[in-house]
Point group: D2
Chain length 422, copies 4
């Protein structure tokens, strides 16, 4: 088994423009979690055209594409397809103007603010390259186009829908995520690579009334605001300098009108951690603070804290990652491979490997304009000038992002597939 | 000119059940500001049937009903018709399940949480009684059913639409508001009676990003929360104990998803004051705090503070109020008339008197169940147990609220209309 | 009984310079509560020299001076003598550089920042004038130089030490306080005139440790800071616009070193109110908030809330105040008498009248430079430019403050003393 | 050159009881920074008795003890001697009841809450053992007993006082710190081992006045409290999960009396960081927040931010640490040596190596009762049950803490000193 790097760029050169067109099309037509119907249809059409057996509707809106190419290992390659309820502000010609129906039934702008469109296109590209090079390897490619990664449930939905029973159990699981690194780079980190995430929906109950008579009410706006301020102390006071955690209140909504004190406020809280003890302390502190802030306001009803969207820690198997990283280095050159350390983002990709009892290998690939990245790095303004995932300004440059993603995925797959029997 | 109290109850007895049915119907079908079409149609139909000349569409959705009954003063009687974006929680058989389109285009539950349905019905009742007793008085009744009081613009819209040019200028303006007093009571206060209101929409700008990487963002949720806490100091530290002001953040909205730090937050702020110097200091303090909190967060863009919905101070003319109060005492008995002092609620009713250069007389009438009120008063739990206006639990008892409102309005009108020439 | 205004200025003219010297001397030598020994000695010396019977050590450091001048009413005249732990910043030639021993045993700067030095001198002046005019009135002057008004205990200490049993029970109690009004003015308000005060010492318990390891501690600095912010909501959200209350955290002390997280924090809280229901709600809210904030921090020990320095509401008897105010108008002219309304400051003077079952009459007299006052008033900068009591810049102009105080006290006394039998 | 572990315990056995007595004596008599006179005298006496040349008053109150024992390397061994303004709460028989004069001139309780008494005794013990074993090694022992480590200036004071010019320049610098690890353990970490520290004194200026009239003031208590809450966001929002920083407000002091709003508040802030970019961002954020909070309050005077007590990052030279750690493992056994990672505490020890251009080796040694440590570890209550440095409950068990400290220091020294010429 050897990687044959020369084959990737050749075939890639033929399909690159088409893939770029597809990328811009998907970017302009983002779909929310479990609503990836247009995307799934396009994926199914193209994978089928490339010679893969295709199944749709796996885990609601997921797509599976399989190429059985003789004896050998089964390699799971995964892309996620869903977009986010973000209003795009990139100003790109192919910027999204789409909307979708949010969980609460309201219509909301939608944007591929996390780059899953790029993941989908790169995997389609890799499938094409692998199919074109089918005489150079042996085994089975199990391509998984997952829905609803943003809800942390899409991977589990596909597993629960019989993914492995129906399509075979992989020997390794491979995936990648576009990130604010220079396009052309990949980032590999063995061990704990992506944070565990816990999401909490908190309803705090006051007692509404007229805005001119606060003394007749229990003001949930003040209650929620004080809670947000207090929650800042969880990381600042209860997590050691050497430990890592993030507590973000991503959404705070209370009231509709300036002169009506509402009955309640809703907070959506997101927690990242890399260690079980830290995670438990943080979650306990949040609960303690939410309850105490309600008590400080004299709330007559206990707040409700409802967990949702929990991502497990993504742990890259050390040995498998070493093998995969070697292939990436061979394909892209040593200079293109960095160790980003553990990142505070989260992924449900690990569920595939856990369910299959197969090692997990997941890496980053850069999407930032290399010149802009360098300038910002030297100025110390990376955080400001290079938009990160989920920003309304997040916009990978099409190239060399796309080519790097296709090459990385293909090379990694070939590192695990068997050699062709001769 | 004398009031003839005996005539009101007699006619009222005949129409009371029908009015109560109408009240429950209007309550079940609330309409937002400037969307009072169903209400206006019913008002126009009934006022026309009672013999009044009727004009609709005055100030967009307002209705004017005029009865010219010989020489004598013109008396403006006013009711407001609009409801609020509140989800009713009274559990009444006639509770609202209606929705309406909010200013931002979203669909929202609607409720008559401020009692304008009761105002409308009471004025229709008074018009009926006055028409039935037309041989006992002389002059002109100018009934004004106003839209959009909650936006502070309905009165001005009617005045600007030529109300007085088209229908005559009044010699006095009379109006009333249902309040959490015992049903059967009225409240009269000469001088500054309802607060000046200033409403501000504040947009605070951060920089969004992924919830796991707050260091790449300027978090507008924290910015807004800290602002809310700081705004509490305006009243607690910058308004003297002997002065009165209210600063309420009625709405705070930021973000849509737990793991996306949004780009901005919006606060809707409501300010009440009774004195120009206090008002100015409070508004200056709010501006100062909002700007400084943005600076504390390192915001790159100045916050936007946009005033809207400004209500002037409602000042009851001392002499005119004395005359009106005397009539209410004669009609309802001295025990039913109290002085509630200045109230922190606001009203745009004063715009009619100001535009007409006619005195303003505006009073409260009770809507609370008298027994429940007494029990709560004795227990010191009025604020908790007697829902105030704008609460989702606000629900005047139909009687004696309705009868008292009709009698008060009729008696007040007769106190200003001329005697019949004989 | 008539006031004889002509006699006051005449005698006053003779002693004014001496009184001014005494004022500057007392101002330069302030003494803390119950440490008024130098002041008391000077008071005793001068009152004795003026012909009064003098007793010292009444209520620890208080002085009583009595002039029995025939049949007639007994009129209590009161001045308070103690100063405050404030570092004077007036820059006056006679500014204090004194220090004293605070309650916690530490040495602290001391200043007559509340004007009790002026009260003392004015009462000494009035005693002199009354003694000089003894042939024009009949009755008993009971002059009380009280210690420890700032602790709210000095009046009670003198009463408890047998003041009335030993020196006679008054028929009326008269007193005055210098205030940031123009010098030359007096302010009279019948009814609730000075707020009730409640003072609370709050100890909040965390768990100390090294500043670099907050996760091993419960940080009482954050706990106390959050409590201060939450306490702002008591007045802003729980007191109606029409009610009045003040909640001040006058002192917050925690820690001694930047890199040691301390074990506890201490807050000193001051509450003003004018109504029992408001007072109770405010005190309950403070207790609720302090406990909840400790809980939010995960404190292992309940906070301690210890009341101290409670002042009752000072209520000026309506009839007695009318009589006294008439005398002040006769002495000073109608233009010099204003109604300041209820003030949020507090006084323990009311304890004398309550204990004696005699009416209370207490008024303000101005100490601000009239020109500076006018300029600031017109610029709307009174709060900024006219230092109020307890400010390190508080500095009454010696004249006409002193003369007005002597004249007011003398005229008020003569309004209650009997006429001379002839 | 070889370590000869057997020699240490033998001699140590003879002096251990005496050292323990000395430890308890020093613990009972702590002295603040630059006031270590009693301690220095005892150190000088004992070092002289052990045969060392002794100089006192080096860097104000520091002591230097030198043993020149033939050719060979010069090894600097360092202990710090100063205690902290903490009130001891250990309840030990030898607990401190001492007081000292704080920087602001007030008398304050003093405690060896950081274990410098143990450092001093261990170094004295090591000097004794080294002197007793002088025939087994060759070179120069340069023992440095440093004042004022807690002020971050003691090391620099000794260097500036000509330490190396007068007593020779070392080839390596060795030191150790007692820590909440099990007694018997040592902790070695190469690279960035102790955080950089920046301490800031922040004065925030309001405008004082009477507690009942906050509207005439700018309340510095609220200003400071809001600042403390906002400062929590520096770590929670502006430091990445993968970076480390601590921002502690160790002291907040404002006001002296409940009813006087003071003129200003003072915060003492302590910052820990391990990376220059993070450090700069944190310091900028603190400055930004302090200024903005003053602006939010309407302060008329800019806050003053004064740096003091800056500790550099302590960086353990990798090669030198490897050599030292090997000696500790040989002396104490592999099981007793752990890697604690970088710690957030700070040390000025690095200044010696920097000034001498010699490598720095600094390690931790445990002081916690091993059984109590194990119990707390298993219960997950280490933070609660094992007091850390600077806690009023910090109390190393005398043994095996003392013996381990002597053995570690001796073994490390011998690892660098030359073998005896024979």
């Amino acid at each position: 088994m050897t990687t044959e790097p020369s084959t990737v760029p050749a075939r890639l050169g033929e399909i690159r423009d088409d893939l770029a067109d597809l990328y811009r099309d998907l970017h302009a037509h983002p779909e929310l979690s479990y609503a990836e119907r247009r995307t799934a249809a396009e994926v199914a059409r193209r994978a089928g055209a490339a010679g893969y057996e295709v199944a749709t509707g796996v885990g609601r809106t997921g797509v599976v594409a399989v190429l059985r190419n003789g004896e050998g290992p089964t390699v799971l390659l995964r892309a996620d397809m869903d977009a986010l309820p973000v209003e795009e502000k990139t100003g790109l010609p192919y910027a999204s103007t789409a909307t979708g129906t949010a969980a609460d039934g309201t219509e909301t702008p939608v944007m591929h603010a996390c780059g899953h469109d790029m993941h989908t296109v790169c995997l389609l590209g890799a499938l094409d390259v692998l199919a074109a090079a089918a005489d150079s390897w042996s085994g089975t490619v199990l391509a998984v186009f997952q829905p609803a990664e943003e809800l942390a449930t899409g991977a589990a939905a596909m597993v629960d829908d019989g993914l492995f029973e129906r399509f075979g159990t992989p020997d390794v699981t491979l995936g990648q995520h576009v990130a604010p690194l220079p396009a052309g780079w990949v980032g590999c980190h063995a061990g704990p690579a992506f944070a565990a995430t816990d999401s909490l929906r908190v309803r705090m109950f006051g007692r509404g009334g007229h805005g001119s008579r606060p003394e007749t009410t229990v003001d949930p706006v003040v209650m929620a605001a004080s809670t947000v301020m207090r929650l800042q102390t969880v990381v600042s006071r209860e997590v050691a300098a050497g430990d890592a955690a993030v507590v973000t209140v991503g959404s705070l909504r209370a009231g509709t009108k300036e002169n009506i004190i509402p009955d309640e406020a809703e907070l959506q809280i997101n927690v990242r951690s890399f260690d079980t003890r830290v995670r438990e302390r943080v979650l306990e502190a949040i609960t303690r603070i939410v309850k105490a802030e309600a008590a400080a306001s004299g709330a007559e009803r206990e707040p409700e804290i409802t967990p949702f969207n929990a991502f497990p820690l993504l742990y890259n198997d050390e040995a498998a990652m070493a093998r995969t990283e070697a292939a990436l280095r061979a394909e892209l050159g040593d200079a293109a491979v960095v160790d980003p350390g553990p990142v505070s983002g989260s992924e449900d990709f690990g569920r595939f490997g856990t369910a299959a009892t197969a090692p997990t290998c997941y890496w980053l690939f850069g999407g930032a304009d290399p010149e802009a990245f360098r300038t910002a790095f030297e100025a110390g303004t990376l955080d400001r000038d290079v938009p990160s995932n989920h920003s309304p300004y997040f916009a990978p440059v099409v190239e060399p992002t796309l080519s790097t993603g296709v090459r990385a995925l293909t090379a990694a797959a070939l590192a695990w597939l068997g050699p062709k029997d001769r």
